[in-house]
Symmetry: none
Subunit: 190 residues, 4 copies
């Protein structure tokens, strides 16, 4: 798939996100997508060979994008707790800010659309966190519990808290973020 026009690809992605937010992944139809994207139905099939490929492709792109966003501004030389806090705040802010994208991701995760590669990517997104936790353990700052459990705990918490923030419609205040981080920090610290 070598798109001649990379802008069209982006237009399709954007239209997809918009429609999935509005109607859910189930409610996404190629006809409406082409209408919102202002492209012919056939054009979409030039860039993506099927609806499934479109969804998987967008999913992977968003996962990578989000991973890089979250870890981008991270100062790995800072003390462990600072690192974790930055990461946590980044994650929460990112989730709320790019709500549409995460809604799409969540819909995908609960669907049967994802191919193996996409599922892999979903799982491997925690690699950096994994390593950070190892460092925390080395520095005797983190409980000696297997990382999988810690990650499930932290991520589950963070996601639900982000959803709560969105649901309540309020801005993501610093106070709120700080409180949320205290919960996470107190739970894993030694």
């Amino acid at each position: 798939m070598k798109p001649k026009d990379p802008e069209k690809e982006q237009v399709i992605y954007s239209a997809t996100l918009q429609l999935v937010r509005q109607n859910g992944l189930t409610g996404l139809t190629m006809a409406e997508l082409s209408k919102v994207a202002k492209l012919g139905m056939g054009t979409i099939y030039v860039y993506f060979k099927s609806k499934e490929e479109l969804i998987n492709s967008l999913f992977k792109r968003l996962k990578r994008l989000n991973t890089s966003r979250i870890y981008a501004s991270l100062d790995e030389k800072a003390p462990f707790a600072i690192c974790l806090q930055q990461l946590y705040e980044n994650y929460l802010r990112n989730r709320v800010r790019f709500y549409e994208e995460h809604f799409f991701i969540e819909q995908c995760v609960h669907s049967h659309f994802l191919d193996q590669e996409a599922v892999q990517l979903d799982l491997s997104a925690f690699q950096n966190l994994h390593e950070l936790l190892n460092r925390g353990k080395t520095e005797l700052l983190v409980k000696n519990i297997q990382n999988e459990l810690l990650i499930a705990h932290l991520m589950g918490s963070a996601n639900e808290i982000a959803n709560l923030a969105l649901k309540s419609g309020q801005e993501l205040s610093q106070t709120w973020i700080d409180q949320a981080f205290v919960l996470c920090w107190d739970s894993i610290r030694r």
Copy 2:
């Protein structure tokens, strides 16, 4: 007169759970459902007037069932920490044991099938936890953070941990549960 068979409803529910586990909520078709339930297509419609009603009806039933399961054996006169631990363990065990049901519930929550009453029921399921946390605050055992945040934290964590347990395929060892509870307890304790 052949009375409407109350067991048939259960047969339909069971077949629905099985099929949703296999193919996801999107993959659920009335034709396959009737095949698995070993009933005529029309019979399903004797018991449920539409696919949507079937899904909502089962959803509500499961939510109520699970709430009662979780809070059933709870000794409310025990000390706060014991109560919370019991609740936590109940929740985790219940989620793993009735995996199929929770998978169905999760699929529903992320779909556009649920009617308002079902959504209400989903939200109100935390009422008991809400009150328990209030007690913890009164006893100065729990951090002074609004319950919504605490609940999002605890539930998000618990759900993700349950998913992890299922994914890893292993039994839910007591050690594991205890570790998981420590995380939760340390996070919210004062």
Copy 3:
């Protein structure tokens, strides 16, 4: 079909008329029919071997009933014009009074439900009128036009006028009937 209970047959007929008036012949379902008739669905099939037979049976019954009603009080020894007038008035009054029955009949005629016998009956209902017109011709009172044409003219007119009377909701005033008859009389008189 030897019904044990002739009253049940009548109950089914009445329920049919009521439902066809409400929902049209197309909207008639056996389930609703049994509900309105307060009988089990199977019971209806004791009295009528199919929906089609029920419709045809009721149709024939009503055609016969109406023919006898219309010609019942006719004094054949009266002068021709009086006879015709009586007949006309009978017909109009009968149609308006037993509106439900005629609505059913009209729905049947335009459907594909009627069997050959029923169609025959529908056509042969004009036999008496046929003979009366012959008498009129013999007495040199009626135009020398073939009866089929005269009958089509008279019946088409009468039916449409009856429909008009029903549509306008008003009672069928004597003035109105008289006016309508003048139209018919003037048209066929020599």
Copy 4:
């Protein structure tokens, strides 16, 4: 870009008329329609969003078409009786010639498919006749009876006579038409 083919609409209309003539409106199925029209099932839904819309759309089209056909060649400056005769003859010939269309219309009128607009159109089709009768009254040529009654009489007669002509299979001879007109004319003349 393949433009939406305007001929396809006509093809669908024609197939509809053919099938309704053969099987009645009730017997019309979208599957058979698409087969006769030699189009994919979905194609019908490109041109009409539902079966109901197709029927209403065709109904309105035919009503308008017939009205214009009947009144097209009418010379309104001719004497009243000539006008009426022309109109009558037009109507009869039109009904017999476009038998299929009128069969469809009649099936629609007795169904529950028509929307309000279609019913309106059906009723308003007599506007021209209404005005012509007023002229006849002004010229003291027509009985002083309310138009509704006159119209019901004339239309009921004409329709039934047209049906008779069709049923008998014979051509619509001029003699026959003339006889039929005499009946109508004698009935309403002063």
